[in-house]
Symmetry: C2
Subunit: 397 residues, 2 copies
Amino acid sequence: MQVRDVLVSAPGKAILHGEHAVVHGKVALAVSLNLRTYLCLKATTGGNLCVNLPNIDTFLSWDLSELKHVIPPVSGRRDELKLLDPDLVRRLREFVGVTNGNLNTSQMATLSFLYLYLSVFGSGELPSLTVSVWSELPTGAGLGSSAAYSVCLAAALLCASGAISSPLNDWDHTARWCQEELELINSWAFQGEMIIHGNPSGVDNAVGTWGGMLRFLAGKIIPLSRVPLLRILLTNTKVPRSTKVLVSRVKDKINKFPSIMAPVLDSVDAISCTCEKVLSEMTSEPITGEHYNALEELFDINQHHLNVMGVGHPALDTLCRVTLAKGLHSKLTGAGGGGCGITLLRPETSSAVVQATVQDLKDCGFDCWETSIGGPGVQQHAPVSVKEEILEVLNRD
Amino acid sequence: MQVRDVLVSAPGKAILHGEHAVVHGKVALAVSLNLRTYLCLKATTGGNLCVNLPNIDTFLSWDLSELKHVIPPVSGRRDELKLLDPDLVRRLREFVGVTNGNLNTSQMATLSFLYLYLSVFGSGELPSLTVSVWSELPTGAGLGSSAAYSVCLAAALLCASGAISSPLNDWDHTARWCQEELELINSWAFQGEMIIHGNPSGVDNAVGTWGGMLRFLAGKIIPLSRVPLLRILLTNTKVPRSTKVLVSRVKDKINKFPSIMAPVLDSVDAISCTCEKVLSEMTSEPITGEHYNALEELFDINQHHLNVMGVGHPALDTLCRVTLAKGLHSKLTGAGGGGCGITLLRPETSSAVVQATVQDLKDCGFDCWETSIGGPGVQQHAPVSVKEEILEVLNRD
């Protein structure tokens, strides 16, 4: 079976407001982070399935004749994509030799790749192909790197198989799929996320698929129609933390001081709603400094609330102080207790200020990227629309 | 007329929780601050009234025969102490030559002294006496220094005149008045506060009179029966600020983000109530580390909330950071925007840690005192119970 070559990318995600509060039934706003994962799928003729994941030093190749035997005897295209095919998962774990214990990043990436490949192509002849992935996202930093990977995999495999269209025209630099096809990509990406995370919320793959911003409340995910593109700095303090520990720390604090903490969660909920309102105004009326002032104030207030919840960290205090010294406002994003923070850049923030701030943050030992939030979700690329250095990595053999 | 010699002192005040929130109908807790103002009243024979206020470089003397003419013709003992006698105020302002414009600290202190002196003694023969005052409190720092002064004046003048008893027995070091006499002292001190502040809340003179802690809600002041004595550091960042500006800044923020700020005020209210509960437990059951942990957490949460209200300041952030580096928790007290902060000391905090912390704070350019909160209100002293250096200042001529 001959397949289409495909070049796709999907964004990471950041929580703009509502991290932790969302666990307690409040609104959270997730946004696409324009640090992207790129995937190049190429048809080959050697009868092999190859995967190159240079970010995590993973370069694997399987003989298709061996891989064929992993497919369960009564497998076929499944309509219900909310659950994994347990038989296929078991056979794959045996195939790659990870039947028990926790998987490392490389094993999880391999397993979800093979699962999606066999699910998409398993009912027919397995095509010979090479998949190469390069991501601008750090892994394990709460920035949705696994979801961006799963979304890219789902889009590329579905597109290569012909299950969804190839929306890119000759004259396009990039193109996106229609809503129905995006729904399909998202469902398959969720399968990949289930392999990697066990019980994912579905937020990360939804952001990777739709991009922009989405509202997350009580398990319901609603993509928001229009949001402005906002320039930010994304800083990784590189302080390791456990989301599970942080979530239970917040729960303990709520149990210890219910009358004090309940209003704090209400206030965070109101911050998310107010932020949504401000961002929506920014797409429907002329953007003013007042809009940015409000966004900055919401950052500051929420950062204080997250400290009240006990998920701050001295490294995050440093981030806030260093950026405030340049007139910029920051908050943690995600689980906190270290991890990442975002800093809002205003349209008038000069590149000199941005560069100086990035340098100051790097001097603190942090990683720091100038990027944006609110950009597009998964898209197909003409090679010309991808940075030279990324193409080079993807085309390296 | 011959009067009794009296030596008295009254404490300053700090807001433990609820500053700013109290303006919006929430509970605040005010506590006595064991930085005290001492007043020594001595009968003399020269036919003069002398006042020595070395803290503010004020040393004045009046001829009683001249002062007599200031008393309004139809003056007498007044029962209603919630309002000033406008005729006496006007005559006094003329007498000291401050008929218009804002008064400086020295003029306000002089005016309230003369007002209380003439109100207490004006219906009879004016006694010849010298009043000397020394305060451990900085002025204009929101620590109730004017109220401590007014309370001392009221207690000493009423006691000297015989309007209230002299509770000190020969064998006592210190002694306090009964509830009824304290009510009278408080009412007269409120008159002094009205001269100085125009429209005082009455909290500062109540703390100076009753000491301990009191709950302040919607203009009602309720002294709390029993509170533990807590060791603290009191730090004056010396950053000047305007309470009026800060109060209106909070109001603006509430108007701008009502749905976000209303829960924050509710949370502060719950902090005050929780703190009151913890302190009450500390007087009725064995004090444990958990009590102190809770008090520290309440400090931290409230400090974040005060930052959310916009009344923080980099100097206060520095205070919090420097003390936290020693394992100690701080919050601003009073209006914020600079001004003063309190740091809780635990029973097990060693004097080495305290000394090192005080030094670090002084190195930041701050003034810092090791003191306590929750101590007694106005009291009469035997000289032996007052530090040598304070007696020396009070007895200097």
